[in-house]
């Protein structure tokens, strides 16, 4: 099984240039479903509706409007928006190499593999150089009329670009200060010991989505005529005695020897 390249470009690190092809690294495995009318199972879509007339407006016929802070609405024409598209370019420009931990995880969006394009030698040199550098490159490129930011790094030894969210997409949560430190020292010590007891390495491959399969089985069972009812549980209340809960957790953690169930 192979995947078709999305785009061709040239990674530029200073004077060095490496022609690459970009491939989607994410495979959609979700169980697809459609929205239906509950009464007669007629397919349902979401439509754009004119609030005054109730008329459905096709997506292609809708225009874009900018709602100004003053409350006024400015209609933007398609050709005006098209004129704002970024200059097409093949360059994937790396501007800086930073330690991996300098990028908070929530910046990461979608990964793309880089594959060789024309120059295999340069590609393998890029993979080796990234491995030796041990840092993450911050890269910028224009693909399909859109500006992208990304992290250039290795995945299983292969160069990948993980698209990064733009600054406006990441909420400025840094503005929150840590809450005042009025925690009981003994409590924190117990909690840290619990973390230590259940410490392990993360093995992404060890996690398998068995729920996805359960959904498929439920659908198959219902198609065959059986029902699968159930009731949702209410959230548990907060533990009243944290010290006691932690002590019991620690005892349980030791019995299990820190292995996952």
């Amino acid at each position: 099984m192979t995947v078709r390249a999305l785009w061709r470009g040239v990674v530029r690190i200073g004077d060095a240039r490496v022609p690459v092809r970009l491939y989607p690294a994410v495979a959609d495995r979700s169980v697809s479903f459609r929205l239906l009318d509950r009464r007669d199972r007629e397919p349902v879509r979401r439509a754009l509706v004119h609030p005054a007339s109730g008329a459905v407006v096709a997506y292609e016929d809708a225009k874009r409007g900018y709602l100004a802070p003053t409350g006024e609405l400015v209609v933007l024409r398609a050709e005006e928006l098209a004129s704002l598209a970024p200059e097409p370019s093949r360059d994937v420009t790396v501007t800086r190499f930073i330690p991996a931990e300098a990028i908070e995880l929530r910046w990461y969006d979608r990964p793309f593999y880089l594959g060789p394009d024309e120059d295999d030698e340069a590609y393998h040199a890029l993979a080796a150089a990234l491995s030796r550098v041990g840092r993450v490159g911050v890269a910028h490129w224009v693909m399909r009329d859109r500006e992208y930011h990304g992290a250039l790094r290795l995945h299983r030894g292969y160069p990948v670009l993980v698209a990064l969210r733009s600054a406006g997409e990441v909420l400025p949560l840094e503005r929150f200060e840590a809450p005042p430190g009025d925690l009981d020292a003994e409590l924190v010590d117990l909690a840290r010991r619990l973390v230590g007891t259940l410490a392990a390495d993360l093995d992404h491959e060890a996690y398998v989505d068995d729920y996805r399969e359960a959904v498929r089985e439920l659908v198959a069972a219902k198609a065959a005529g059986s029902e699968g009812p159930g009731r949702r549980r209410a959230p548990a209340p907060a533990s009243p005695d944290l010290t006691e809960a932690l002590r019991r957790s620690l005892a349980r953690g030791r019995e299990e020897g820190g292995t996952r169930g």
Partner: protein, 295 residues
């Protein structure tokens, strides 16, 4: 995000048929998931709120006459409009559809539908960015503040992320819970089979490269060493250009429409809705964590 918002999902009325009494009043933020965070035998009720929002310019879809459009559910066959409560998920099966209620999906795994059980704690640098899908903030609900702080303090002190799998809106997620700046963040991670292997993509086997070529790239990279990410470098330039264009037209009075006011105002675009929700979430967090932000 591949998942679609199903009925009974997080969002309130997505159509324009809002109750007029709601006009001008925003609903309290609703978490995308609500349940129990389990830290050993310590449990605390939490809500998950998005820590990111969708990008792009703040545009909404408008009719050719400039009226902002509402989004509503409608039947393909006869165009009749439906309320969110009147729709259900249908999974294609044998030429027809099998309908499945949200309660049935939760009942498939009641524990993981209601509990995020941090049963293993891993070094932070082992959470692979390639797997990261979405980011959330965990907000403690009533009476859970001390337990929340305790989890924050112990994860931060140990430099570890708590790992769990849980079920949200008909889908199971691998979740890494990390402490950051006094709050808990939840990062949903793709399952291993959702990330292709290099061989699946058709990439060639890695082989040793020309030493000189490697050295040249490495030297060029070293010239670019820096300590931190520069958020300015990650600005959404495209969105900024759109706003500049629109503000220019506004100043010149070009294509400007009066805003529709009153109860007839259609439901906000999803992005705007989310943005408004996020502002409320921030307020909620601030309140929960008991200290105001720096001015």
């Amino acid at each position: 995000m591949a998942e679609r918002r199903g009925p009974g999902g997080a969002r309130a009325s997505a159509g324009g048929a809002g109750d007029p009494s709601d006009a001008g009043r925003r609903e309290a933020p609703r978490p995308v998931w609500r349940g129990t965070l389990a830290f050993g035998l310590v449990t605390l009720p939490v809500g998950l709120y998005p820590a990111t929002r969708s990008g792009g310019a703040p545009l909404r879809l408008v009719a050719p006459d400039g009226t902002p459009l509402a989004r509503r559910y409608y039947r393909e066959r006869d165009g009749a409009f439906l309320d969110e409560r009147e729709i259900v998920r249908g999974y294609p099966e044998a030429g027809g559809f099998v309908t499945v209620e949200d309660e049935e999906l939760a009942a498939l795994d009641p524990d993981r539908s209601t509990v995020i059980d941090l049963d293993v704690f891993v070094p932070l640098d082992q959470v692979d960015p390639v797997y990261v899908e979405n980011a959330y903030v965990l907000v403690p609900e009533a009476d859970a503040l001390t337990a929340y702080r305790l989890v924050v303090a112990s994860l931060a002190a140990e430099g570890r992320a708590g790992i769990a799998t849980f079920v949200m809106r008909g889908r199971s997620y691998l979740l890494a819970v990390v402490a950051h700046g006094g709050t808990l963040r939840g990062l949903t991670l793709r399952y291993h089979d959702e990330v292709r292997e290099p061989a699946d993509v058709g990439l060639p086997a890695l082989r040793p490269a020309d030493v000189g070529a490697v050295a040249r790239i490495e030297a060029a990279a070293r010239e670019l060493y820096a300590d931190a990410l520069d958020p300015d470098e990650l600005a959404d330039a495209g969105a900024r250009r759109v706003v500049e264009l629109a503000e220019g037209k506004l100043a010149r009075g070009e294509d400007v429409r009066e805003p529709p006011l009153g109860p007839e105002e259609p439901a906000a675009e999803l992005d705007e809705e989310l943005e408004a929700t996020l502002a409320d979430v921030m307020a909620l967090l601030r309140e929960s964590l008991g200290r105001a932000t720096r001015a």
